[in-house]
């Protein structure tokens, strides 16, 4: 099965700055793909190239296995990072206009908008002018307009910026729901917590280069450093065999003790447990996987230093 979206060696140079250097990503159907990277890495440029807003210098963008065309673009739901609406137009009128530009009939637009406005509890805004709304409120309207025509591919550039935590959660739920209903979703973000919760795949771009990509679970496995956390009850600290096990952090609270232990290549988790069990009552035992945040910082710093 062809990927929903594929970029092959996409490159772009602005006047003197290399914005993208042979970036290849692959987005599976009905998955959520997170595009990460520090500011100015080239995320938005990539998104704009996919949307054919910016022309690429080299490379290819394939949609379901075929080179992307202007007609395909009309079926993509795209929420740009810098978003605007006509300030003097009324919210409802504007939503209907944008929906009709996407090809919905007036009746369809009204029907779908009613559902979404109720879902987001903003029905009372219908006759307000956009300039009367706060920035976050405007973004809700824009999100609705983006997903209204049920596009198969959704691209959100920084969808959570400007939202309060409650609305971020509402948005996350809707994004997950959209995926479950069959949509493929790409979003760029700095919000790492949302990446962990939502993404099936991620790609990390730094300085115009793709430095990491893959399934989020695989990546975490790849970056794990064999650290386990043991919470136990015992009057005294654990004594472990060296050099197989190395305690890197100890805590003691509420009568429970916690130790973070790195296991060296020669040993494994079972041996660690064998070591622990005679000494203490184990409350919990788990492997600590690196957070996306940790991986992000580690990799970005590494690639920047290599330069």
């Amino acid at each position: 099965m062809a990927a929903a979206l594929q970029t092959i060696n996409v490159s772009k140079t602005f006047t003197h700055v290399k914005a993208l250097d042979a970036v290849s990503i692959e987005v599976e159907k009905q998955s959520i793909f997170g595009l990460l990277g520090p500011n100015g890495a080239g995320k938005t440029t990539l998104i704009r190239i996919i949307n054919m807003i910016t022309a690429m210098d080299e490379g290819q963008v394939l949609l379901n296995g075929h080179p992307v065309t202007q007609d395909d673009i009309r079926h993509i739901g795209y929420l740009p990072e810098e978003r605007g609406l006509y300030k003097k137009m009324k919210v409802g009128e504007q939503a209907v206009y944008l929906a009709r530009l996407k090809g919905l009939s007036k009746q369809e637009a009204l029907k779908h908008l009613k559902v979404w406005f109720e879902k987001f509890e903003i029905t009372s805004w219908w006759n307000k002018k956009v300039e009367e709304l706060s920035k976050g409120m405007q973004q809700k309207v824009q999100f609705i307009v983006t997903v209204l025509h049920n596009p198969k591919l959704l691209i959100f550039d920084e969808p959570f910026s400007g939202f309060d935590p409650i609305n971020v959660n509402i948005l996350k739920e809707e994004i997950l729901k959209l995926r479950d209903e069959g949509a493929t979703i790409i979003f760029s973000t700095h919000n790492m917590a949302s990446v962990e919760e939502l993404c099936d795949h991620i790609a990390l771009i730094n300085n115009s280069k793709l430095i990491l990509s893959g399934e989020i679970h695989d990546i975490k496995q790849r970056f794990k450093s064999n650290i386990f956390e043991v919470v136990y009850r015992s009057p005294k600290d654990l004594l472990l065999d060296k050099p197989a096990f190395e305690v890197i952090e100890r805590q003691n609270k509420n009568g429970e003790r916690l130790a973070k232990i790195r296991i060296n290549e020669t040993a494994n988790a079972n041996e660690l447990l064998k070591n622990v069990l005679p000494q203490a009552e184990v409350v919990s035992f788990r492997e600590i996987l690196p957070s996306v945040n940790d991986i992000f910082i580690q990799e970005v710093e590494k690639s920047s230093n290599n330069k």
């Binding site: 807003i53 022309a55 003097k88 530009l101 996407k102 824009q142």
Partner: protein, 441 residues
């Protein structure tokens, strides 16, 4: 509905529903109607009161020379100045004209006493009568019969008659044509700028608040640009039609409500104008003759052709300039940056207005011909020439060139707009635009 139609609809409706549009649509015709009505109305007000003038003529030369006018009545008095001041001026509240006796020369000085400021029509009339009388007296003193002079005076009525190709003759009226030519030219200039500026503003608004990225993912940049240009053109046409209809409506409304009063004051106004022009012509003009002339003037101008050519040249000129304005709006990031591009684009238009007096003086000169052929100046210049009559082949050629012109600028503008509208933070100059122009795809 197709997408460009949707864009046109939005551009049109949001503008037509604006308060400023509604105000302009009503205010414009009110002002135009006022320009037509007010002079007549003012003269009526100024003459509303009947004034009586007591004439104390010590010379006796002017007996019976002052004729009663519509709002002016003359009567002779014979007492001395002080007692007449008492009776005529203070008691009756009339004006007092005092012509003192002179010993040697003819009287050329007089005094007009008044408790209030006398109207201009009063002083002008008195002066013109006195001048006539004194001139006649001087002629007599030299032994020349004023009647001889009068018969020797000739009033030249030069009728300019235009002969068209088929040999049909038509009386033309240059003054009316000049007025109409300048008015039409300026109106075209005004409309092109006003609605061209709206295109510029609209494009910049879309670029600045970045809604353009959302819309470009639904429609082609060219569709968005054309939708905006056509939508605003329709707004302009609507405004023009409203102006014509409402001006006519206001004029009719005024005429029916003011009724015969208006016509009367209108005719006295024209009579007065003749009186003010130093007294050569006979002041007794017959109203009906005048009316016939007015209707002849109106008939001599092909109003229908004027309106149609106005609409054509407005649309052509507007499309030409609006697409350039759209390109500018798409290329720049900030309002301040528009200036450097606006000026070179608007220079031809401003130039054609600056040349208006030269064109009106010689509507068939080589310069007028070429200016009315070049698409950038032809809308204003051709509108100025049309009231004087322009051969059909010239109009046809100019129209064809204008159509080619706006197709050309729209094509150019489309290329600049397409790239510029999505480009932020780049310092735009002509070299950059040239690069965008040559970009393919």
């Amino acid at each position: 509905m197709n997408k460009i139609g949707l864009i046109i609809q939005r551009e049109y409706l949001t503008r037509v529903k604006k308060k400023s549009f509604i105000i302009m649509s009503i205010l414009g015709p009110v002002l135009i109607a006022a320009m037509i009505i007010l002079p007549a109305l003012l003269s009526e007000w100024s003459q509303g009161e009947k004034k009586r003038v007591a004439v104390l003529d010590e010379t006796g030369l002017f007996m019976g020379k002052f004729k009663n006018q519509d709002n002016l009545e003359f009567y002779p008095v014979y007492n001395d100045l002080n007692s007449e001041k008492e009776t005529a001026l203070y008691q009756r509240g009339d004006l007092l004209l005092y012509i003192p006796l002179t010993q040697l020369s003819l009287p050329t000085k007089a005094q007009l006493f008044s408790t209030k400021q006398p109207g201009l029509n009063v002083t002008v009339y008195i002066k013109s009568v006195m001048k006539n009388v004194i001139e006649n007296e001087k002629l007599k003193a030299e032994g020349i019969d004023p009647e001889v002079i009068k018969s020797a005076k000739a009033q030249i009525d030069l009728a300019t008659i235009r002969v068209d190709e088929s040999g049909k003759e038509k009386k033309s009226f240059t003054e009316v044509e000049v007025g109409l030519a300048i008015f039409a030219g300026i109106l075209i200039y005004f409309f092109i700028f006003m609605f061209g500026a709206q295109v510029l503003k609209g494009v910049m608004e879309e670029k600045q608040n970045r809604i353009v990225e959302v819309i470009i993912s639904s429609v082609k940049p060219f569709q968005l640009m054309m939708g905006k240009i056509v939508g605003i053109a329709l707004v302009g046409l609507t405004q023009f039609m409203l102006w014509i209809l409402l001006t006519g409506f206001f004029l009719i409304l005024f005429q029916t409500s003011a009724g015969s009063d208006f016509k009367e004051s209108f005719s006295t106004l024209t009579e007065q104008n003749q009186m003010m022009s130093p007294g050569t012509a006979d002041t007794t003009t017959i109203d009906s003759q005048k009316l016939a002339m007015v209707s002849e003037i109106i008939n001599s101008i092909d109003l229908k052709a004027m309106v149609f050519s106005f609409i054509f040249y407005f649309l052509g000129g507007y499309l030409l300039y609006a697409s350039l304005f759209a390109a500018i709006g798409g290329a720049v990031d900030h309002d301040a940056d528009t200036q450097q591009f606006m000026l070179p684009v608007s220079i031809p238009l401003i130039f054609s207005v600056m040349m208006s007096s030269a064109i009106v003086n010689q509507p068939d000169s080589g310069m007028a011909f070429w200016l009315s052929m070049i698409p950038f100046t032809s809308p204003v210049t051709m509108m100025m020439r049309i009231p004087f009559g322009v051969p059909y082949w010239e109009i046809g050629l100019s129209a064809a060139l204008l159509i080619l012109g706006f197709i050309g600028t729209t094509w150019l503008a489309g290329k600049i707009y397409r790239t510029g509208i999505l480009m932020y933070g780049q310092k735009v100059n002509y070299a950059v635009m040239w690069k965008w122009l040559r970009q393919r795809g």
